[in-house]
C-alpha cells in the first residue's frame, strides 16, 4: 500500500529519473514515472503537466513498491513531460512523451493491442492517432457491451460524449466572453458547464445545456454548429444516427435582479422523458371541437423572462372548417390572429397559448428546439401507434394468407393458366406480346403523309422538265406532252398504304397471365413465413431501445412485404375477370381478327375452343370458383398506408 500525509515541499525545478510505478498491475501498461531531487534523496516527485504537455512543476509523493532505475536525466520545469510504458519487468521505456509516442508506433503498439480495447484506446489517445480513434472507441464500446448494454451506453454518453461537449463549450465561452462580457460572467458560465447533462432517449444521447448558454449559442451560431458537428462525428463512431441538444432551463437561473432562482431542472424532465407507453397515451393535438381559449389555468400574457421554463403541452389548428376557422389569442403578441399554435405550460401548471409564428419569430433557438422535440415526440407516437396496430393485425392477415394457400382456389387458378398455355400456345404468345391487355389488330390504311411527299416530288420534277423545255407554264408543258408524261411511271401519283395497329378491345384480368407464370404459390408461401416472422418480431419488440427511424424501418419492411403479397394475390384473383364469358369472347374475336390461319376461336357455354384446319379442337373450360376473402390483408395494408 502506498500512502502518506501531505507535506510542504520547497519548489523544485529539475528532477532526475528515479523509477516508475505500475499503478494497475497490468502488463503491458502505461506506468507512472517517478523522479528524485538530487539534493533530497528521500523525496520522490511526479510531474505537474499543463494542457500543452509542458511540465509546470513537481509534486512530492511517497511511495513503496516502485521500480528503481536511477538515471542522470530528467525533466525541468518548461520541458515536455515524461511518460513511461512497461511491456514486462525487463522491457520498459521512460522518455519524453513525444519520444515514447514514436517508440510505441515503431513497436506497432496501436496494432498489437486491438484485443485490449481500453489499452488500445489509451495508446491511440496518447499518440494522437486520430485515424485510429473511431475504431478504437467503437471497439471499447463493443467490449463493454459484452458485459452490459447499459454499461456501454453510459460510457459512451457520460464518459466520452459529455466531456467532449463540455470541453468544446468551455472553449467557445473562453473565445467569446472577453469581447462581450466581464470576467465574472465568464467564470459563471464556466461553472455552469458542470450543469451540462446527458440523458438518453432510447439509444441516442440527448444533451441539456443550462439556459445560460442561450446567449452564447446565439451569439456564435457558426461556432455552435461546429461544436455540434464535432460531437455528431464522435457519436457516429458508435453508430449513433443523431444527437439531440436542448438549450433550456437548467440548474440555477438568474433572474433580471441577479438573485438566483431555483427552477425545476430540465435534466430531470429529460431523465423522465416519456416512455413509449406514455407516448402512446399522450395527447398531442387539441381536437377541432375544443377551443384552446377554454382551457383552465390560462394566462393572458407570457411571464417576462421565464420563457425557457415553459414546456410544450398541446398543438392546435383552428384554421380548418371543423374548427370554424377561428383565430386564437396569442400570449406573446396579445392579438387574436393565429390559427395555429401551441399550448405551453409553466412548472406551476399555468398555461399560455403562443401562436406558431410568434413562437418561431420571437423565442429563437429555445422555441425551435422545443418545437422540434415536440414534433419528434408526436412523430414517434404516431409510429408507435401504427406499430401497435400493425402488430395486432398481422396474425389475422397471416392466417388468411395461409387459408388461401391451402385452399383449392389457388391451385385451380394456376391449373387454368397451365391449360391456357398448353392448349393455346400461339394465342398465349400473342397475349404475352400485348401491352397491358390492349388487343391490337393490324389494318391497311392510306398513308397520306407519304402520298403528299410523293406528289410534291413529282410536281417538282414536272416543273424542272417544263423549265428545261422552255415552257413558262408547267400546265402548258403537261398538255403538250400528255403521252410522255402519262407513260412515265416516275411521274405517276399512286396511292400509298401503311399498316396501322388498331385497338380491337381491352382484355380484363391481364395481370393474371403474368402472375400465373411467376411461381406465385412458392412466393406466397415464402412471404407467409416472412409475415409470421414479422408478426412475432413486432409483438416482441422492445421499442424503447429503437430510434424512431428504426421503428419506421420495421414498418416499411412489413409494408413492402404486404404490398408484394397484395400484388401476387390480386394478380391471381384477376383470373376470374379473365375467364369471364364476355372477356373470352373479346379474346376469341381478336384472335380470329388476327387471321393467323391457325383456326377458328369460339366461346360457348364458358368454353374457349380453337378448331384448327384439320378439324381438331382445343378447349379451356372457363369456370372458376369465387375469389377468397382477403379482408384482413386489406385492413393490414390500409393500416400501413395511413
Amino acid at each position: 500500500m502506498i500512502d502518506c500525509e501531505p507535506s510542504d515541499v520547497a519548489s523544485v525545478s529539475y528532477v532526475e529519473l528515479y523509477g516508475y510505478h505500475n499503478l494497475t498491475g497490468q502488463l503491458p501498461s502505461f506506468v507512472l514515472p517517478l523522479f528524485a531531487d538530487r539534493s533530497r534523496h528521500n523525496a520522490l516527485f511526479v510531474q505537474h503537466v499543463n494542457r500543452e504537455n509542458i511540465v509546470t512543476g513537481f509534486g512530492q509523493v511517497d511511495a513503496v513498491g516502485c521500480r528503481t532505475i536511477s538515471r542522470r536525466a530528467g525533466p525541468s520545469v518548461g520541458d515536455e513531460f515524461w511518460a513511461a510504458f512497461e511491456w514486462d519487468p525487463d522491457d520498459y521505456v521512460i522518455a519524453r512523451a513525444s519520444d515514447l509516442t514514436k517508440l510505441l508506433i515503431a513497436r506497432r503498439m496501436p496494432e498489437t493491442t486491438m484485443t485490449s480495447p481500453f489499452l488500445h484506446l489509451a495508446i491511440v489517445d496518447f499518440c494522437n492517432l486520430h485515424d485510429y480513434r473511431g475504431a478504437a472507441l467503437a471497439a471499447a464500446f463493443k467490449s463493454l457491451e459484452t458485459a452490459s448494454g447499459d454499461y456501454a451506453l453510459y460510457w459512451r454518453d457520460s464518459i466520452i460524449l459529455l466531456p467532449a461537449l463540455r470541453r468544446a463549450l468551455a472553449d467557445l465561452v473562453r473565445e467569446q466572453i472577453p469581447h462581450r462580457h466581464p470576467a465574472e460572467r465568464k467564470d459563471y458560465l464556466l461553472r455552469c458547464i458542470d450543469d451540462v447533462r446527458v440523458g438518453r432517449r432510447r439509444t441516442y444521447p440527448i444533451f441539456a445545456l443550462p439556459a445560460e448558454f442561450l446567449s452564447v449559442v446565439e451569439a456564435d451560431a457558426r461556432g455552435w454548429e461546429h461544436i455540434l458537428s464535432r460531437i455528431r462525428k464522435l457519436a457516429a463512431f458508435f453508430g449513433v444516427e443523431d444527437i439531440l441538444v436542448r438549450v433550456g432551463a437548467s440548474g440555477p437561473l438568474q433572474d433580471s435582479q441577479g438573485s438566483v432562482v431555483e427552477y425545476r431542472h430540465l435534466f430531470q424532465k429529460l431523465n423522465k422523458a416519456l416512455s413509449d407507453r406514455e407516448l402512446i397515451e399522450r395527447r398531442f393535438w387539441l381536437g377541432t371541437d375544443q377551443d384552446p381559449e377554454d382551457l383552465p389555468n390560462l394566462l393572458d400574457r407570457i411571464r417576462p423572462g421565464l420563457v425557457e421554463t415553459l414546456e410544450f403541452e398541446y398543438i392546435y389548428d383552428r384554421g380548418v372548417k371543423e374548427a370554424k376557422n377561428r383565430f386564437v389569442r396569442c400570449a406573446h403578441c396579445g392579438r387574436r390572429h393565429h390559427y395555429r399554435g401551441y399550448v405551453l405550460q409553466y412548472p406551476d401548471g399555468r398555461r399560455v397559448l403562443v401562436g406558431k409564428d410568434c413562437g418561431r419569430a420571437y423565442y429563437g433557438l429555445w422555441f425551435h428546439q422545443k418545437e422540434a422535440d415536440f414534433g419528434a415526440q408526436l412523430s414517434r407516437a404516431r409510429a408507435l401507434l401504427k406499430l401497435q396496430r400493425v402488430a395486432s393485425l398481422l396474425p389475422a392477415a397471416a392466417k388468411e394468407l395461409s387459408t388461401v394457400l391451402e385452399g383449392e382456389w389457388c391451385d385451380r387458378a394456376l391449373a387454368l393458366g397451365r391449360t391456357l398455355r398448353m392448349q393455346f400456345p400461339n394465342l398465349w404468345r400473342r397475349l404475352q406480346a400485348t401491352s397491358s391487355g390492349r388487343l391490337l389488330v393490324s389494318t391497311r390504311v392510306r398513308d397520306a403523309e407519304a402520298e403528299a411527299a410523293q406528289d410534291a416530288r413529282i410536281d417538282r420534277e414536272i416543273e424542272r422538265r417544263a423549265r428545261d423545255a422552255g415552257y413558262a407554264d408547267q400546265d402548258e408543258y403537261v398538255r403538250r406532252n400528255r403521252s410522255l408524261v402519262g407513260t412515265d411511271e416516275s411521274l405517276r401519283k399512286k396511292p400509298i398504304y401503311k399498316t396501322e395497329p388498331r385497338e380491337f378491345g381491352r382484355l380484363r384480368g391481364y395481370r393474371y397471365l403474368a402472375t400465373s407464370v411467376s411461381e406465385p404459390k412458392r412466393r406466397l408461401a415464402n412471404m407467409l413465413q416472412d409475415l409470421d416472422r414479422s408478426g412475432k418480431e413486432l409483438r416482441a419488440l422492445q421499442t424503447d431501445t429503437l430510434s424512431t427511424e428504426a421503428l419506421r424501418g420495421k414498418l416499411k419492411n412489413v409494408q413492402r412485404l404486404t404490398s408484394a403479397i397484395e400484388r401476387v394475390l390480386s394478380g391471381l384473383m384477376e383470373c376470374g375477370s379473365f375467364l369471364d364469358a364476355s372477356n373470352l369472347k373479346t379474346l376469341a374475336d381478336w384472335a380470329n381478327a388476327l387471321k393467323s390461319g391457325e383456326g377458328i376461336y369460339t366461346v360457348e357455354n364458358g368454353l374457349l375452343s380453337l378448331r384448327i384446319p384439320s378439324g381438331r379442337m382445343f378447349t379451356l373450360e372457363a369456370t372458376f370458383s369465387p375469389v377468397p376473402n382477403i379482408s384482413a390483408l386489406g385492413e393490414l395494408g390500409r393500416a400501413l398506408e395511413t
Binding site: 500500500m1 502506498i2 500512502d3 502518506c4 500525509e5 501531505p6 507535506s7 510505478h21 499503478l23 494497475t24 498491475g25 497490468q26 501498461s29 502505461f30 507512472l32 511526479v46 510531474q47 505537474h48 503537466v49 499543463n50 494542457r51 504537455n53 509534486g59 512530492q60 509523493v61 511517497d62 511511495a63 516502485c66 513531460f81 511518460a83 485490449s116 480495447p117 481500453f118 489499452l119 484506446l121 489509451a122 489517445d125 496518447f126 471499447a140 467490449s143 463493454l144 459484452t146 458485459a147 452490459s148 447499459d150 454499461y151 453510459y154 460510457w155 457520460s158 464518459i159 459529455l162 466531456p163 463540455r166 458542470d194 447533462r197 446527458v198 431542472h265 435534466f267 430531470q268 431523465n271
Partner: protein, 254 residues
C-alpha cells in the same frame, strides 16, 4: 452517551433524499475485492488499531484541487466503490468529517476539542441531518457549498466550530474532506447487490473477469483515463465529475 455535536444534530430534521456511500481504494486492492466480493476491514491507526471499513457519504472525498495533486501514489490509480444508500449494515461510527484529517482541522477549533466530540449517532440518519443543517440539500453538500448562516445556539461550540471549518475559504491545508461525512463499518461490506458503481482506470476493463464481476454485482463501471491522470490538471474533470454526474444522473441530487 451522545457527543455534544450529536446532541445538536439529533434535534434537526434529515435532508430529503438519501445519498450512496463511497469507498476509496486502489487498483491493487481491487483484485482482492474481486476475489472476496466484499470490502474487507483494515486496521486503523486513528481508532486504536480497530479493523474498520471507511466510507464517505456521497463524496469522492479525497478529491484533490486542480492545482494541488494528491501526494500519494494511491491517488494516481484510485478505485471508488459507490454503494447503495439503503444497506442493512449498521455503521459503527459516523462523523461529519474525515477523521484522518482531524489533526489539521483542529487549527480551526478549540484546542481541547477531540474527535469524539463530533461522533454522531450511527443509527439516526445523522449524516442526512448534518447535510440539512449545514448544506440544505444533497446537491450543495456534494458541491461543498455550505449554508452561510445556519441557526446554531451560542453554546453549541462544536457545531459552530464545524461551521467555521467548512466555510473557511482562506485555509488551503485541507481539502473538502473537512466536510465529507465519514461512515465507519466494523465488519466486511458485501458487494453483490450493494455496489452500484465502481470508478476505476479504464484499462482494467480490458479484463473480462472484472467486467463479469461488475455485471454480477450489478455495478456500473465508471472508467477514467489513467494516462490523462498523469497530468494533474485533468484531475477535477475526471473523477469528481464522474461521480457527480453519476449521482445527478441517478437522481440522487434532485
Amino acid at each position: 452517551m451522545h457527543s455534544r455535536f450529536d446532541a445538536f444534530i439529533r434535534l434537526r430534521p434529515p435532508v430529503s433524499g438519501e445519498l450512496p456511500l463511497t469507498h476509496a481504494t486502489d487498483g491493487f486492492t481491487l483484485r482482492e475485492v474481486l476475489d472476496t466480493d466484499c470490502l474487507r476491514t483494515q486496521e486503523c491507526s486513528v481508532f486504536g488499531g480497530e479493523r474498520l471499513v471507511y466510507c464517505f457519504l456521497g463524496r469522492a472525498a479525497y478529491r484533490a484541487n486542480a492545482d494541488e495533486p494528491p501526494n500519494a501514489l494511491l491517488a494516481y490509480a484510485p478505485v471508488y466503490f459507490v454503494l447503495k444508500p439503503s444497506t442493512n449494515l449498521l455503521p459503527k461510527r459516523v462523523f461529519p468529517f474525515d477523521t484522518g484529517g482531524f489533526i489539521k482541522f483542529q487549527e480551526a477549533m478549540h484546542h481541547r476539542m477531540v474527535v469524539a466530540d463530533f461522533s454522531l449517532d450511527p443509527g439516526n440518519d445523522s449524516g442526512r441531518r448534518v447535510i440539512h443543517v449545514y448544506f440544505g440539500s444533497n446537491r450543495r453538500y456534494i458541491d461543498n457549498e455550505p449554508n452561510a448562516e445556519p441557526e446554531i445556539p451560542a453554546l453549541a461550540f462544536e457545531a459552530r466550530g464545524f461551521h467555521s471549518l467548512i466555510t473557511d475559504r482562506q485555509r488551503n491545508s485541507y481539502d473538502d474532506r473537512v466536510s465529507a461525512i465519514e461512515v465507519q463499518f466494523d465488519r466486511d461490506v458485501p458487494l453483490p447487490g450493494l455496489a452500484e458503481a465502481v470508478v476505476l482506470p479504464s484499462v482494467l476493463l480490458d479484463d473480462p473477469a472484472i467486467k463479469a464481476k461488475f455485471a454480477e454485482w450489478g455495478a456500473q463501471p465508471l472508467p477514467y483515463d489513467l494516462v490523462a491522470r498523469f497530468k494533474p490538471v485533468e484531475y477535477v474533470s475526471q473523477i469528481r465529475t464522474l461521480i457527480r454526474d453519476y449521482l445527478i444522473g441517478k437522481g440522487y441530487l434532485d
